[in-house]
Structure formats: C-alpha cells, structure tokens
C-alpha cells in the first residue's frame, strides 16, 4: 500500500509536468486549430532559460551573487516571460505569415515541427553537446506523511500545476480575453466583425501557453537538473498525446490527460518491468481514444443551421 501511495505522489509530480506542457498544446489548438509541435521544445527552452537566469543571479563571481531564495523568486517570473517571448516569436515569424497567405493548416503544422527541430539543433549548435546542470535553487526537505516520503520540491511542483490550472480556468471563463479565446475556438471568421483583433488573441494565447511551459521546464530542471537539447522532444510528444486523450481544446482535458498518462506510466513501471512502460501506457491511451475519439472532455463540433 505504501509503495502504491508513494508511486501516486510520483505520478502526481510527472502528471504536473505533462499537464503544464499539455496546456500550451490545448490553448493554441483551441484558438488556431493548430497543433504547435514546437511546444515540447519551448518547454526545453524554458529549462535552459531558467538555467541561464539562475546561474547569472546565483554565481558568487557574477555581478549579482544573490541568495538562493532571491534567485528562485526572480527566476520564476523571468523564465516565464522570456519563454513566452520565444513562443510569441515563433508565432510571429513562422506561423502567422503562413496563415496570412492562406496556407493549409497541414503546412503550418509541418512548419511547427521544423521550428521544434530548429530550437533543438540551434541549442545544440550554440551551446554544444555538453549537458548543463541547473544550480540548486531550493534546499531539499523531505516530509514524511505516514511512511510516504515527499520532497518539498514535489509538493511545489504539484501545487504549481494546480494553481496554474485554476489561474487559466479563471482567465478562460471569467475574463474578456478568455471569452474571446472561447469565441475564436468556435468561430474564427466572426471575431473581427466584433471589432476584436484576432492577432491580439493569438499572441495572448501564445504568451499563456509558452509561459506555462517555461514554468514547467524550470520545475522539471529543478527536479531533474541535467539539461540537454532533446529533453523536450519525448516529453512534448507525450504531453501532446495527453492533451488529445484529455480532449484537446479543453484545459480540463489537458490536466486530466496529463495526470492520467503519468499515473499509467508510473504504475506500469512500478509493478511491471520498466521496459513495458511506454508500450502499456500508450496502449491504454489508444484504448481510451478508441472508446472516446474526442478525448475525455472533448466534444465533437456541431453546427446548427
């Protein structure tokens, strides 16, 4: 039983990473009907930005030489802001011009795939193949809950994911911008007729999605401090699948899918040979899609004449 509960905590932590990435997929898909395949690599970029920012602030030889606490407090917002800038730049440089020319969505999706590869290999070319290690930003504490050991970092990761969920839920359901995002997901054509600039809604969406992925990248790097250029690829794919299984376009789906995938993965690895992990995990997800092709929270689009 203890092993099971212990693994549940691990699943919650991994689910948080998947959820934080899946959100970006789902938000951008909701607004643009575009699968932004560069998004996993935005997560990687977030981790690297966190590395550079925190190293700069923390290094005793550097001009700042700040304490861990201050560095952490500064690195979180800076990582989110800078990562959003990267996400917004991709939209501005790569996707928007294509969409303006009326390119079929498939071409934009392929462009997104290429952008991801450019981010990975650009990173490799600029920083070399040596792995980077994120400095320790949080003193490790282990809490014991009746035999289940939970590090403070794990708690923070899970808490961050939950807070992000409520924050985004609030934005989407309660704010004017969120209302516009929901409106675009239903009917892109009519939005400018309301006097709403579509570009602002799209940019806002990329800021949210990339910022959250940046936070995810940073938390991931704090939990597993070794950074490499391809770290976002597989995690990104998995998060995308999680978003689809949850019902892409719905933020509840991104969370449900993310935690579900992590739960299945961790449990398979815990009780079966770990080589079975992905095979089992994806077979189960395939089964879910087979039963519900639109995902757990997804609804098929219908129009009424």
């Amino acid at each position: 039983m203890d092993v099971f509960l212990q693994q549940c905590v691990n699943a919650l932590q991994w689910g948080s990473f998947y959820a934080l990435i899946a959100l970006g997929y789902t938000l951008v898909y909701g607004v643009l009907r575009l699968i932004n395949f560069a998004h996993g690599d935005i997560f990687m970029v977030g981790a690297y930005i966190a590395f550079f920012v925190s190293t700069m602030f923390l290094s005793p030889e550097g001009m700042f030489g700040l304490s861990r606490e201050t560095t952490l407090a500064l690195t979180i917002p800076l990582t989110m802001i800078l990562t959003s800038l990267v996400g917004v730049s991709l939209e501005r440089i790569a996707y928007r011009p294509l969409m303006r020319k009326g390119a079929h969505r498939l071409y934009v999706v392929i462009t997104a795939l290429m952008c991801g590869l450019i981010l990975e290999n650009g990173n490799l070319a600029l920083l070399g193949a040596s792995r980077k290690t994120l400095p320790v930003l949080l003193e490790k504490n282990i809490h014991d809950f009746g035999g289940i050991a939970v590090t403070n970092l794990k708690l923070w990761v899970i808490l961050a994911a939950v807070l992000v969920f409520f924050f985004l839920h609030f934005i989407v359901t309660q704010t004017r911008m969120g209302m516009a995002m929901r409106a675009v997901s239903w009917d892109r054509f009519a939005l400018p007729l309301m006097g709403i600039p579509l570009d602002s809604v799209v940019v806002f969406t990329f800021i949210l999605g990339s910022g959250v992925a940046g936070l995810g990248g940073m938390l991931f790097a704090m939990s597993y401090p070794v950074l490499e250029p391809y770290m976002g690829a597989m995690t990104g794919w998995k998060a995308f699948i999680a978003a689809v299984v949850g019902g892409i376009g719905d933020i509840r789906g991104a969370f449900a899918g993310g935690f579900l995938l992590a739960f299945v993965e961790i449990m398979v690895a815990a009780f079966l040979p770990s080589t079975f992990r992905d095979l089992f995990a994806f077979s189960i997800l395939l089964l879910i899609l087979w039963l519900r092709p639109t995902g757990i929270f997804g609804k098929p689009l219908t129009t009424k004449i």
Partner: protein, 239 residues
C-alpha cells in the same frame, strides 16, 4: 458616405467581381440583389476588409468611407473606427458562449460604461433573447440565432450595418418580423446595406437597389423603379 469604385476582387485566379461601383448615403437602406454566385457576399466581405482565406482579395478599384480609402484597413478597425459591421451569411454566432456573452463580447472595441444598458436595449428589441439570456447560443432556434446575430452587431455601436442574406432559413413570419425590425432601426438612424436573394422582400424595405449578375452591376435605381422593371422582375424576382 460609402463609395465603391470599379471594385475588382478575386479568389486566387478566379475573378468574382469585375469592377462594380455603387454608393450608400447615411440613413439609407440599400440592397444588393442577384442570384447565387453573383458576388453579393464577396462585395460585403470586401467592404468589411475580410481577406483570404476568409474572402476574396481586392485586385483593383477603391472603397471610400467618408472620403477616406479603406483599402488598407484591417477588418477589426472597420468595426472599431468606422462603426460599420456585418451580420454574415449563416449568422456565425459563438455557439459555445451564452446569449449574454455573445453580446458582451461584441462590445470589445467600444466604450464600456453602458454595456449593460445596451444589452437591455437589445433585449427590448428582441424580447426572445432576454428569455434565453443565460442559455448557450447554439441551443437557440434559427430565428433566435438571427436575432442574436443582429443584436450582437448592434452591440458594436455600429452606424452602418451590412447584412448578408438575413432571411435565409427563416420561416416567413419570422422573416417579416426581422425586416420590420430592420426598418425600425433604420428609422432610428442606422444605415443598412442588405444582400438578399429574396429580392422582392428586400426591395419592399429598401430605398435603392443594385442588381448584380456574375460580378457586374446590371441595373440600379430606386426600389420602386426596380420593382416595376419587367425584365428584372422576370429574372430575379420570380414574377
């Protein structure tokens, strides 16, 4: 006020408008009538500055609003700066939003102080919408959706309203109601340009009309004149 000169527009290589000219003055109801594929919707979308992939691109000619060319304007600016908007064919309401949310969203680019008051005003014009205020708008009937589409357009505080086939898919009684309402809005100062296949109905409320045929204007005149022309009657009014 609105002046279109020699407008040509094309979907890719296929030209849909071969140089049309028309105008509308403040306070008028102008109608563009013609068969399917005549270029009526393309004309309205061009006026709204909708571009590919949503619509055709303008290849020649000019469009002026109060003497200023609007060729380089973005669609959302046409709404926010010129106070002109379109009720598109097929209505395009936001079905995943409630009726009230649809109305609130349309107030995006305007002064926010009296939004609630304006929503009440829309509910006065279309009492059916008030009954459905909290409902998701894709649960509305076709007629109610058309009311919402018009109400939503009015929420932008437009002074020029373009309507694309407002009678489409409506039962006759609801259709007459809708046109009576448009006539009333016009009496309160709203300029209306309406595209219709139901030419007789459109000419009954309009001041002037233009007849479009495969991308060209083949007749124009006051609504009464057009209703009396036998060749127009035969070709477009089904009489």
């Amino acid at each position: 006020m609105l002046r279109v000169r020699n407008l040509k527009a094309a979907y890719g290589k296929i030209e849909a408008l071969h140089g049309i000219s028309f105008h509308a003055e403040r306070g008028e109801i102008v109608t563009l009538i013609g068969a399917n594929g005549a270029g009526k919707s393309t004309t309205l979308k061009a006026l709204m500055r909708l571009t590919p992939p949503e619509s055709a691109s303008v290849t020649a000619g000019d469009m002026e609003f109060d003497g200023i060319s609007i060729l380089n304007m973005d669609a959302h600016r046409v709404v926010s700066d010129l106070k002109m908007t379109l009720v598109p064919e097929g209505r395009h309401i936001f079905g995943n939003l409630t009726v009230t949310e649809n109305l609130q969203l349309a107030a995006w680019s305007r002064k926010k102080s009296n939004v609630d008051e304006d929503i009440r005003h829309i509910f006065d014009i279309f009492p059916r919408l008030a009954e459905r205020a909290k409902q998701r708008s894709d649960t509305l009937s076709g007629g109610e959706q058309q009311m919402l589409a018009v109400g939503r357009a009015l929420m932008t505080q437009c002074s020029v309203l373009l309507l694309d086939e407002p009678s489409m898919g409506l039962a006759p009684l609801i259709m007459y109601d809708m046109f009576r309402t448009l006539k009333k809005l016009n009496a309160d100062g709203l300029t209306i340009i309406v595209v219709e296949q139901n030419a007789r109905l459109a000419l009954q409320v309009a001041d002037r009309g233009y007849v479009l045929d495969t991308g060209e204007i083949i007749a124009e005149g006051s609504a009464d004149e057009l209703l009396k022309k036998p060749e127009i009657m035969a070709a477009y009014l089904g009489a």
